[in-house]
Amino acid sequence: MRYHTPENFEDASAIAAGADGVTRFLAGGTDVLVQLRSDMVTPDDLIDIKHIAGVHDITPLRDGSWRIGAAVTGAEMSENALLGQAWPGVVEAMDLIGSTQVQGRATLAGNLCNGSPAADSVPAMIAAGATVSVIGPDGSREIAVADVPTGPGKTALKKGEVVTAVNLPPRGHGGGDAYLRFIPRTEMDIAVVGCAVSLTRDGDTITAARVSLGAVAPTALLVEDAAKALIGSALDDAALEALAKAAEAACKPIDDKRGTIRFRTHVAGVLAKRAARIAYDRAGGAK
């Protein structure tokens, strides 16, 4: 195994592009090292991106958007009060990952690029309308987070492409987001269902919404019908019921050791309603 510590993303990308064995980027390592130790993935080239300038920065931009470096940890996000005010749902989703120790290492980019359908921060990023900046052999591009996962363990990133940062759009006035997951225990568990809702209010009326579900399909889903159920409503019971129905209808889960199809589908509807209420309250200025 070769361990690399490139000093810029161009080099990181070049190493990956030129490697012909199993290649992994190393951000927090909380997936990579676990997979290595359990004999699931033994990389030939391990490319540590933590030595690249700027990867640890959380940067609020002038237009109200945010740039989160590829090695920013969950703990660093939780410590950033302004980020928490703008995107509490994204921060709480990242904060749910693992334990205190894991929080000191785990990153948004790693959670996304690991490709797990149950990754907690991914629905929150999708609902928020986040994108990732990518550098690859063909130059740089920006991809919607919703388009990155393509299946369990698979992403749309091409050989040699590396995520340099996660971008969150400006929150704007009257916005709020929330993420909830269902796990059988209280922590240290994998989402059986995850749901994120991000919405904008004008007075009591919802003017824009995005709803995303995790762990109920091969990739996290952006559920347009669920968003439609919310837009134009004041989150009355009928809207919530329509939201739950749309969320349930979008589910394409599997029966496995973590939950049944029936259970996951039902709970997706329940969580959608609960997350929508929290997002709605946050958008209305409730803390």
């Binding site: 269902f182 059988p184 225990r185 922590e187 994998i190 939950g259 029936r262 259970f263 329940v270």
Partner: protein, 749 residues
């Protein structure tokens, strides 16, 4: 040695809460656990395990692996003793498969190399050809017609004719006539229950360092609950004499019964013998799940008749336990514990020990009892509900007490069930208001407790401090309790006693630390060894004073003349006698060896409040109180720790822990991610009440406490969850999908 009424009052050290002697070592990382041992030239062993639930082993090709760098030895079944019979054969067959792999994770071949990485890589290069056979992992399916036979001829004489060959042992007990009893009842409820296998979940995986030379002499360092057992079993499996092996028990990171069995030590010895080097084996967590003993899974039918006033008229239980690919599922304990809390005129209990393609079950805290309580106490709860009866009053009305006949035969001696129920009734928890969505459950539980072969030695140092050697690995703070009992008898400070877990060469045979026996049996032996030491001390004082030995008493750490007639001498402190012992007759050492048989049984009553989210089936245990009879709590903090630990493990078993097998018979959740033991935030603070009804069989009245604490939780939590959800749960674990399904089924009518 009987309970000493005179000794229950005025304790100076017993009943206090000093720090445990191993505490600093453990919190500073100085303590040496199984995997902490190293030796010059040490190799690392890795075991290759069957990926199939049931498969004939056609060929094992190790040629590529053996050619790899650093590889020193490979062993298969051919490298172990032949001609074994009975349980030794079963253990060997489990430690290393013979012709057939009997479960996913069954050891097939092992390899030793200079590093664990080299050993792991080499293990991957071993090719095993299998012929996959049909398998069965479910208890009911395993005893049904047409089920694949795990091993022909494994059944013993107890099994009635006509049963499937996978039923290997049968138990029947009880008294009276249950049919007459049911006819007398105002309400009879019969229900069926199932529980899944759970793992002991100790934090430290099995680990050992073993050395066996061509002269047939060897040593083992390992984490175990019983090193004399390791010595005996390993000697048998390697075909050498017992005394050729010396076994030292390391510090132990939890056992809960799971480290009463032998798994890797014989393999390390066999590798060592071949390589002529010490070999260390450390299991991974996944190996612990796949190849070390979980509990049995169960399928149970319970029928109970009750009068309107709460009197139980008859009770019947059928208990089917799946114990993996070997005989031994503790179904007779399940049957015997099931109705033990109740004084019944008519009772019948039947047990089946069923083999399946799963790992050999191992003891887990009160083996067999918690499941029985789940079934029985659920039905009692239903009866109370339908008859509008108070749950504690009803249990009190039927409670076993001194002089009543136990459901499994004997007449009870002094026992503390009524005292537990009264204490539970008086506890503010029992009458505290519940919030909407919450339910309360209670349950009783019973465990026998055990005595067993025990040897203890107490050596006096020249400064009057004491070195106490016991042979029971300390799995629950027992070194502190032993030091307290020794200090109490000798009249010296707790700090002046150092308790060591001695190796097999130092003491006579000590049975495993199991059956909640340590504080009872090693404690009793410690008290006796102290009394032996005192006799020797008094003898030295008598010689010095020139008076009869009988004229010397021991008071507060000093020899004193027994009375005015004995003469007028100043008290002679232990330190002064010790200082001169080399000149007055040599070292002073007290000892005691026996198989004490007066382990008092223990009962408990638990109260649980649970909250169920009806939309997701998610459950939270919001309040928990354990009431249990300890006989006499030597170190109350460690007694409370046992109570809380039993409740915590019970919460996991009841709500989320389970062995999940795929259709291919492979274990799907061999890790702590998907085998969900409770994390700290899942648990409420667990309140404890220590009831003390002295055990007539121990000088201070001690009863074992480690196991009874896990007997009531499954039932108490099931009763609480059923009350909160408004629907009766019959199957463990009560995971959210299962609760939601039960709610949906009820809503659908």
């Amino acid at each position: 040695m009987a309970f000493d009424e005179t000794k229950t009052e005025g304790f100076k050290v017993v009943g206090t809460r000093p720090n445990r002697p191993d505490g600093i070592d453990k919190v500073t990382g100085r303590a040496r656990f199984g995997a902490d041992a190293t030796a010059p030239g040490m190799l690392h062993g890795v075991i290759v395990r069957s990926p199939h639930a049931h498969a004939r082993i056609l060929k094992i090709d190790t040629s590529e692996a053996e050619a790899m760098k650093g590889v020193h030895a490979v062993v298969t079944r051919a490298d172990f003793a032949t001609g074994l019979t009975g349980e030794n054969w079963n253990i060997l067959e489990n430690v290393m498969a013979g012709e057939t792999a009997l479960y996913d994770g069954h050891a097939v071949v092992a390899i030793a190399a200079t590093s664990s990485l080299a050993a792991r890589d080499a293990a991957k290069a071993i090719v095993v050809d299998y012929e996959v056979l049909p398998h069965v992992t479910d208890v009911d399916k395993a005893m049904a017609e047409g089920a694949p036979v795990i091993r022909e001829g494994a059944a013993d004489k107890s099994v009635p004719a006509g049963l499937h060959p996978n039923v290997v042992r049968y138990h029947e007990s009880g008294h009276g006539d249950v049919e007459t009893g049911f006819a007398e009842a105002d309400l009879v409820i019969e229900d069926s229950f199932r529980t899944e296998a759970t793992h002991q979940g100790y934090i430290e995986p099995h680990a050992c360092l073993a050395q066996l030379g061509n002269d047939g002499r060897g040593e083992i360092w390992c984490c175990t609950q019983g090193h004399w057992n390791v010595q005996k079993v390993c000697a048998a499996l390697l075909g050498i004499e017992t005394s050729k092996l010396r076994v030292t028990a390391s510090e132990i990171g939890g056992g809960f019964g799971g480290k009463t069995a032998v798994f890797i030590e014989p393999v390390a010895l066999a590798l060592s013998l071949k390589a002529n080097r010490p070999v260390k084996i450390v299991m991974t967590r996944s190996e612990c799940f796949r190849a070390t003993g979980p509990t049995s899974s169960t399928s149970m039918d319970v029928k109970i008749g009750m009068k309107k006033d709460g009197t139980i008229t008859a009770a019947k239980g059928v208990f089917r336990l799946q114990g993996g690919a070997f005989p031994g599922a503790p179904m007779e304990f399940t049957a015997m514990c099931a109705f033990a809390p109740y004084n019944l005129a008519n009772v019948s209990q039947i047990g089946f020990d069923v083999m399946s393609n799963r790992p050999k079950q191992a003891a887990y805290r009160a083996p067999g009892s918690p499941m029985a309580a789940f079934a029985v106490e659920s039905v009692i709860d239903e009866l109370c509900e339908q008859l509008g009866l108070d749950r504690i009053e009803t249990r009190l009305k039927n409670a076993s007490k001194e002089g009543t006949k136990a459901s499994f035969g004997p007449t009870w001696d002094r026992i503390g069930l009524v005292e537990c129920l009264e204490a539970a009734k008086a506890h503010p928890h029992y009458t505290a208001p519940l919030k909407p969505g919450q339910g309360r459950g209670i349950s009783c539980g019973f465990w026998f407790n055990h005595g067993g072969e025990t040897a203890v030695q107490m050596a006096l140092s020249e400064d009057g401090t004491v070195q106490l050697s016991v042979g029971t690995p300390d799995i629950g703070g027992s070194r502190a309790s032993m030091a307290q009992m020794a200090a109490e008898e000798l009249g010296i400070p707790y700090e002046n006693v150092r308790t060591t877990i001695a190796d097999t060469a130092t003491l006579g045979y000590n049975e495993i630390s199991h059956g909640s026996r340590v504080t009872y049996a090693s404690g009793l032996a410690t008290i006796e060894a102290a009394r032996d030491t005192i006799r020797k001390l008094c003898k030295r004082a008598a010689a010095k004073w020139g008076i009869d030995e009988e004229a010397v008493s021991w008071v507060d750490g000093c020899a004193v003349p027994s009375g005015p007639n004995a003469g007028d001498f100043d008290p002679l402190p232990i330190a002064r006698i010790a200082k001169s012992m080399g000149r007055t007759g040599g070292p002073i050492v007290g000892h005691y060896e026996a198989t004490p048989e007066g382990a008092g049984v223990s009962f408990a009553t638990h109260i649980v409040d649970a909250e169920v989210d009806p939309e997701t089936g998610s459950t939270r245990v919001v309040r928990y109180t354990v009431v249990q009879d300890a006989g006499k709590a030597i170190h109350p903090t460690y007694v409370e720790g046992q109570y809380q630990g039993g409740a915590a493990q019970g919460i996991g078993w009841a709500l989320n822990e389970e062995y999940i097998y795929g259709a291919d018979g492979r274990l799907q959740n061999a890790g702590f991610l998907d085998y969900r033991i409770p994390v700290a935030s899942d648990l409420p603070m667990i309140d404890t009440v220590i009831v003390e009804v002295p055990n007539p069989g121990h000088p201070y009245g001690v009863r074992g406490v480690g196991e009874t604490s896990i007997c009531p939780p499954l039932a108490a939590i099931a009763n609480a969850v059923s009350a909160a959800a408004g629907v009766r749960l019959h199957e463990l674990p009560m995971s959210p999908p299962r609760i939601l399904a039960a709610l949906e089924k009820q809503a659908a009518g």
